[in-house]
């Protein structure tokens, strides 16, 4: 092989690599997807401008109105949540956020620990990991979820319904790591502008959907038992998060967001909160009598689904939790903060959507809370 050929080969490979990377970038995931835009939004934040994150499954983004927390209290708490986000992903999500942000508080919702949420669908994992930038942490996050999925199957495999098996995580599936293998066929539905521009959420990861956010469906208030019990595998998952938090001296707060679920699911979440409390981390059970009055959640008007609050419920939860972090972590009331334009813009957008959806000013819900 002549020198010229070696040089040509190297240049060709570089071109090839650039092209392949461009294709991977373009077809990584459907960028019109909610989780992608939430993560794109997070990545577009300037370094060390976010105060904290709130991690969990879909109930987190339904409950957390980041623009409101900013506008009312000057707190920048970004929701990093995905539909059915596995607890096994928590460390990976926090690690990803810590790469660019100095997090003063990390709120973790424990709903993901319920056994009903344990059947890990590949789609749930991909929604999250394919939205993250390619990195070692992303690979480790996939590995953690895949390992947990294997452990789960080894113990509870017999209980998994046959028809659900095809939806589960396949540990040998290479597309777990390389989304392109899974998404390249999106050319059929057309590649949109968002695929090129990687658009981010304008409302800082908050969830607003005309179909659900402005709809109320009365829920039966839950019976919260006193018992606490969690199976060893799930205990391990919580323990890993606790150990990680301790090791890195993180201000983690374990919360149980308002929901209306069967009694046995609260027994599991109680156990998770108990473990966190025993380890010295603060916990907040928003379904308990202790906080219910202060939160003033109305089961007739603030939910659209047993797991999800609507935007009115979100305003109440956001107000409560923001006040909590301000009181306990000295956040908020920082009018001179840099890079505020996009946060101010997000408030305008959120407020407009809220008021258009409910046909009432957002302040009316806020003033209700203040009363």
């Amino acid at each position: 092989m002549k020198m010229k050929q070696i040089l040509q080969f190297i240049i060709f490979m570089v071109f090839g690599l650039v092209m392949v990377c461009a294709l991977f970038y373009l077809f990584e995931k459907d960028e019109n997807d909610e989780t992608s835009s939430r993560w794109n939004g997070f990545y577009s934040e300037a370094e060390n401008t976010i105060d904290g994150i709130i991690v969990g499954a879909s109930m987190v983004d339904r409950a957390w109105a980041a623009p409101l927390a900013w506008h009312e209290w000057g707190v920048r708490l970004y929701p990093l949540s995905t539909g059915s986000q596995p607890i096994a992903a928590t460390i990976g999500v926090i690690e990803e956020a810590r790469k660019t942000q100095n997090l003063q508080v990390i709120i973790i919702d424990v709903h993901g620990i319920r056994s009903s949420a344990q059947l890990r669908k590949a789609k749930a994992m991909r929604n999250l990991t394919d939205s993250m930038h390619h990195s070692i942490n992303r690979i480790q996050t996939v590995n953690r979820i895949v390992k947990y999925s294997k452990d789960y199957e080894a113990i509870y495999g017999d209980t998994i319904p046959e028809e659900k098996r095809s939806e589960l995580i396949d540990p040998s599936d290479f597309s777990n790591y390389l989304g392109f293998l899974n998404y390249h066929s999106r050319w059929e539905s057309g590649v949109s502008e968002a695929d090129f521009t990687k658009e981010s959420t304008g409302i800082k990861g908050a969830f607003i959907s005309p179909k659900t956010s402005f709809r109320a469906k009365e829920q039966e208030p839950p019976d919260i038992p006193k018992e606490a019990a969690l199976e060893p595998l799930f205990q391990e998952l919580i323990q890993e998060v606790i150990d990680y938090g301790k090791e890195n001296q993180l201000n983690m707060v374990f919360v149980e967001l308002p929901s209306c679920l069967p009694e046995e699911e609260y027994i599991q979440m109680n156990a998770a909160l108990q473990m966190a409390e025993d380890a010295g981390f603060p916990t907040i059970n928003l379904n308990s009598d202790e906080f219910a009055a202060e939160l003033s959640i109305n089961y007739a008007t603030d939910f659209y689904h047993s797991c999800h609050v609507n935007s009115q419920g979100a305003v109440k939860i956001t107000s409560f939790l923001t006040k909590y972090v301000c009181d306990h972590y000295g956040l908020g009331n920082k009018p001179e903060r840099k890079d505020s334009a996009s946060w101010d813009q997000s408030w305008e957008e959120y407020k407009a959507s809220f008021e258009q959806g409910w046909e009432m000013p957002i302040e009316s819900v806020l003033s209700d809370r203040q009363k």
């Binding site: 080969f9 071109f15 092209m19 392949v20 396949d170 290479f174 293998l181 899974n182 390249h184 050319w187």
Partner: protein, 532 residues
């Protein structure tokens, strides 16, 4: 390990890197290790079968070689002493000895193949007959393992044995080297069926890294991937839908299914061959070409000269000629001459041998009556064309048809595609009866509107996928035409400006990555011929 997978590409990278790093003397050892690793990664249990075939064939080859060599030495030493009769007698004795040895080895190798591949077929049929006769007996059905590539390496081994028997070449004296000849990884899954004198020396000789060969090999692999992933696997859902639910379809829809299957199996098989040839070419080894644009053929016999060429040529050398030139067939020809006249007497041995060859080709594909019917279908057309050749000549002369012009050639090619497509009903149909039913419903229902009402877009290929198929079909056609004209595409591209060349290569890669039908780990569906 599927050819079309990330694992294979990684494996190939390791094999090639290791091969070029390896000292000259050890290169073939590296290939042997890699070939067996490849085979074991595919199916550990099947390794015993390929080792059995290798050892039996090697030992038999050595015995046959020894007899040949002893005979030559003896005749040379006693050239002046022995009379002509004595020499003849000695040769006859040796031939008997050789025949016995050869038949034992054929019986062992072929017997294993037939047992594993066809036992349950025979058992099923015997049981059906016994049941019809109301006999309370049953041949048990066995859960047999069909080792990967057994249909290919068995024929390769038999070809070698027959050639050594015929004293065409010396037998291999190194068992390990011979094991490499039978197990060379690019061709173990689905051929081509190599000849010892064409392949073995290439495997044993060391090859240095050659930039051009490596580049050409990689290009051939890319082309193979494109055929398989963009065309074959895209056609698969359409073909599966029609053949698996054939009762729901009629007329032209059924024919389109058969036509699509023809193109699916062509791009699937020839794509696999391109990958195999490309992989071998990178290592400096040229393996036989198995396809020469079969859909350009003007007759079924020409189609079979262009399709799965190595199987056809194997059948020609080891079945057709031995049969056609056998004493039995000669006698038959003579008798036929007395009864039916000179012409029939002359062509009968050829006609019958050809028919048997195609029957065997059909049966080689699998153990089912549908494959027997597939063989008969092709055998009838090919034998028929031999028989009716004078009639065709008269007909074209009477109708004053210019057989040299393009339109006649085009007509013949379309006719061949049509006939081959009908034959596909047998090879892909779920059963022989299903194939017959499909043929019946193709020709008894007239529904040309399915071509214009877009109803077939609901059968597994939507409009966008159809556009991709048409575009790739055009690329395939242009490439085919250029190759027919003797243009070596890769050489031609290599002559172009660097920028254009890179644009072509990177463009092809991008097209493959975007439009290829693949999923987890770049894996595609299993190659169709891998199952044969």
């Amino acid at each position: 390990m599927a050819f079309v997978s990330m694992k294979f590409l990684f494996f190939l990278l390791v094999v090639c890197s290791g091969y070029f790093i390896m000292p000259m003397k050890l290169k073939w050892v590296w290939l042997l290790i890699c070939s067996y690793t490849f085979y074991l990664l595919n199916d550990v249990r099947a390794a015993a079968f390929i080792i059995f075939t290798t050892v039996i064939t090697y030992i038999t080859g050595r015995i046959l070689g020894q007899i040949n060599s002893d005979q030559k030495t003896y005749l040379k030493e006693n050239k002046t002493v022995l009379s002509r009769e004595e020499k003849k007698c000695f040769k006859a004795k040796n031939i008997t000895k050789k025949k016995r040895t050869l038949f034992t080895a054929i019986l062992a190798n072929l017997g294993l193949l037939v047992f594993l591949k066809y036992f349950n077929f025979f058992a099923g049929n015997i049981n059906a007959v016994l049941s019809n006769l109301s006999l309370q007996m049953e041949v048990p059905m066995l859960n047999l393992l069909l080792p990967l590539g057994i249909s290919f390496y068995t024929l390769q081994a038999l070809g070698y044995l027959i050639d050594v028997y015929r004293d065409k070449y010396e037998p291999d004296r190194n068992l390990a080297k011979f094991a490499l000849f039978l197990s060379f990884f690019p061709q173990i899954i689905q051929g081509p069926i190599a000849r010892y004198n064409q392949l073995a020396h290439q495997l044993y000789e060391p090859h240095k890294f050659e930039y051009k060969r490596v580049a050409f090999g990689a290009q051939l692999i890319l082309w193979g991937f494109m055929k398989k992933l963009i065309i074959a696997d895209r056609l698969a859902p359409f073909v599966d839908e029609i053949f698996n639910n054939y009762i729901s379809y009629q007329g032209i829809t059924l024919f389109l299914g058969a036509l699509a299957y023809g193109f699916q199996v062509y791009t699937d098989f020839s794509g696999g061959m391109d990958i195999a040839r490309g992989a071998a070419q990178i290592l400096g080894i040229d393996i036989a070409v198995n396809f020469e644009r079969p859909y350009f053929a003007r007759s079924i016999s020409e189609f079979w000269r262009r399709w799965h060429i190595t199987l056809g040529s194997w059948m020609k050398d080891y079945v057709f000629y031995p049969l056609a030139l056998s004493k039995g067939f000669n006698k038959l020809g003579k008798r036929a001459r007395n009864i039916f006249g000179n012409y029939i007497g002359k062509i009968l041995p050829t006609f019958l041998s050809m028919f048997i060859v195609f029957l065997l080709v059909g049966v080689w594909h699998g153990s089912s009556w549908k494959y027997v019917a597939y063989g008969v279908w092709n055998g009838v057309f090919i034998s028929g064309s031999i028989l009716l050749e004078p009639v065709y000549e008269k007909m074209t002369a009477t109708l004053k048809i210019n057989t040299k012009c393009f339109s006649w050639g085009f007509f013949q090619a379309i006719r061949t595609i049509f006939l081959c497509s009908i034959g596909r009903f047998f090879s892909r149909g779920v059963s022989c009866m299903a194939a017959l039913s499909m043929i019946k419903h193709t020709f008894t229902v007239f529904n040309p509107w399915v071509l214009t009402d877009y109803s077939f877009y609901e059968l597994g290929i939507n409009e966008r996928n159809m556009i991709v198929l048409v575009a790739m079909g055009l690329v395939l056609l242009v490439v085919g035409i250029m190759q027919e004209r003797g243009i070596h595409i890769r050489e031609k591209i290599a002559e172009q400006n660097l920028y254009f060349r890179w644009l072509v290569y990177l463009g092809a890669l991008a097209v493959l990555l975007i439009f290829g039908v693949y999923g987890n780990g770049l894996t595609s569906t299993v190659f169709i011929y891998q199952q044969f």
